[in-house]
Amino acid sequence: MPTPSLQRLFTAGVLLALFAPAAFAQVRIVQTNSQGDNISLIDPATNHVVAEVKGVPINHGAAASPDGSRLYFSSEAEQTLHVVDGATLQLTKKIPLSGRPNNISISPDGRRVYVGIVSSPGAVDVIDTASLERVKSIPTKGGIHNVYVTPDGKYLVAGSIAGKLMTVIDQKTDEPVWTLFNEGVRPMAFETNPDGSTKRIFVQLSDFHGFAIVDFAQRKETGRIELPNDIPADKVDKGPFNASPSHGIGVAPDGKTLWVTSRPNARVYTYSLPDLKLLPNPVDLGGRPDWVTFTPDSKLLYIATENTDSVVAIDVAARKEVTRIKVGRSPKRNITMVRR
């Protein structure tokens, strides 16, 4: 018969075991460095780089399994997908790809990683995460720069600069369903309906300083918003910007705001959702911004600035810079990883 104190200890242990996964979920901002072979992991609690993944030369895209047990990175230099253990951060496998990769994405169930193949004729490589093999290459019109999985997991959305096309692909059949645009398609962000289905896609395009609005159900573009020209002419960065003056866009996880970066203005602008009203107080970034990612609670936003080798942490509610964090060479893509 256990004593009362032992019983209390046992109860505390059970409670700890029950709630530990939630309590100890570990959030990391995973920041690729496009001209290096390392990836920087930032702890949003301290805004310091607390770990590094090494040995992924000229890393481009990043994805994390839903439980954070694995990370995936595409390497432009080696034309491979690197699989990294989420706990040890050690490489576990390199998967050969069908061509030169750009960005990658993972299905919400973690079973498939999709890799945009930018070299001609273009494809989306499909990686089965159980076998860690490339099981298919979905042909596309033009090389793929970015590939996304819609938040409900039902569709892939692939953007091509060369093909000047956004292609929506059925995730079950791997067959294209519909296409849009006749312009180079760059980063995208997704707004969802209450049931999780895709409501709108906000799409950045080649040589356009802003974004297009795509109604997913109607399968058509419903408008475009150009970012403000609110910087004195002598302060505007003249580039070059890879024909992509606006190359970073994200919907906050709470769905309340859309954040869009400007390279010429070195700023990020915020729009309210769903009405797309420009909010005051754009945040100065001090360099050419690239990709954006949020903490799951929508409190913090992280923006890579490629020509300063740093990441700017921003308070979402206040729309103010919190700090700048030095990372590796030419940081671009980033994601948020949660280890449970």
Binding site: I58, R100, S120, P240, F241, N242, R329
Partner: protein, 84 residues
Amino acid sequence: MLLVPAMTGAAGQKDDLPDGDGKTILLTSCTTCHDLTEVTKLRGFYTRAQWRDVIVTMKEYGAMVDEKQVETLADYLGQNLGKK
């Protein structure tokens, strides 16, 4: 165009690339779109065929190079930044 300027990139940095027909093409076709480091970051990783693949992608993106220049550039990059 994913190629290189002569003495300075947009950031004003000097390069260490030798002169040649390929370099002349680089000087006139590339840094209107991106910095020098977008090319030199891949030093030592690609074969001539892979460099050619990159040039073809850039041509598809709108780089103003003709077919003969594609081959000249592929030769140049394969020789000077190629996999050894």
